[in-house]
């Protein structure tokens, strides 16, 4: 039960490594350049749809990047939401 945070482009090794280590009961938060994995129709988005983890996107970063945060399978959250996730997940793995 790990909270993954991804602040890296979908083309990065960090994204691939993160993707390969997502398990059921894990959660992933896309932030910074990671929000580009929330662009529907991309390989990264499709890959995340096949992941067993719950996927979130930091709303402010998505809007800043011009990425639609309201896509199927990804839940937009604000910083309160991120802190709330850390309350529920004892451990975090930061990918960047």
């Amino acid at each position: 039960m790990i909270l993954h945070t991804l602040n890296a482009s979908p083309s990065s090794a960090a994204f691939q490594d993160c993707l390969s280590l997502l398990h059921a009961k894990d959660a992933l938060v896309l932030l910074g350049d990671g929000v580009y994995a929330a662009v529907a129709g991309t390989h990264a988005y499709e890959a995340l749809q096949g992941s067993p983890a719950r996927v979130h996107v930091l709303l402010s970063d998505a809007l800043l990047a011009g990425v639609n945060p309201n896509v199927q399978g990804i839940v937009p959250i604000d910083m309160e939401g991120l802190v709330s996730l850390t309350e529920n997940f004892p451990r975090q793995q930061a990918w960047y």
Binding site: N7, G32, S84, T86, Q92, A94, Y96
Partner: protein, 130 residues
């Protein structure tokens, strides 16, 4: 809960250090205790007293300083990283024969032991890199 943060990102590129600051404020606003923020690698640049940004950009050091002052949050920068990036307090400036300190006085320079200690004391450790 008791939180500790590890910040590895510099203040003037990317958004990770701003995430860390906003996260820190939110943690406190939700009633948690933020015990210590440990700055490592390029994250030590968040302590730089000499950063001057255009008027329409927020100074990255003052908000950390205010957080430390208002909520008794320890701001610690790793000594090895600090020296590498030229982040010196008065003592290190003297020790290494530099003209003046370069960090804001809200920050203290210490070793990785303080990170280990923070991990041991905190219920949650959250890392911000990028």
């Amino acid at each position: 809960m008791i939180y500790a943060l590890l910040v590895l990102a510099p203040p003037v590129s990317g958004q990770a250090s701003r995430h860390a600051l906003t996260f820190a404020r939110t943690v406190i606003a939700r009633g948690h205790t933020l015990h210590r923020v440990f700055f490592l690698d390029a994250g030590t640049l968040n302590s730089a007293a000499g950063i001057v940004l255009p008027q329409d950009e927020a100074n990255p050091v003052q908000p950390w300083s205010a957080l430390a002052r208002q909520h008794a949050v320890e701001l610690v920068i790793c000594v090895t990283s600090a020296l590498r990036y030229g982040m010196l307090d008065a003592e290190e400036a003297r020790r290494h024969d530099r003209q003046a300190p370069t960090i804001d006085t809200s920050f203290t320079i210490s070793g990785l032991g303080d990170l280990v200690d923070a991990c041991a004391q905190a219920d949650r450790v959250v890392t911000f890199g990028g």
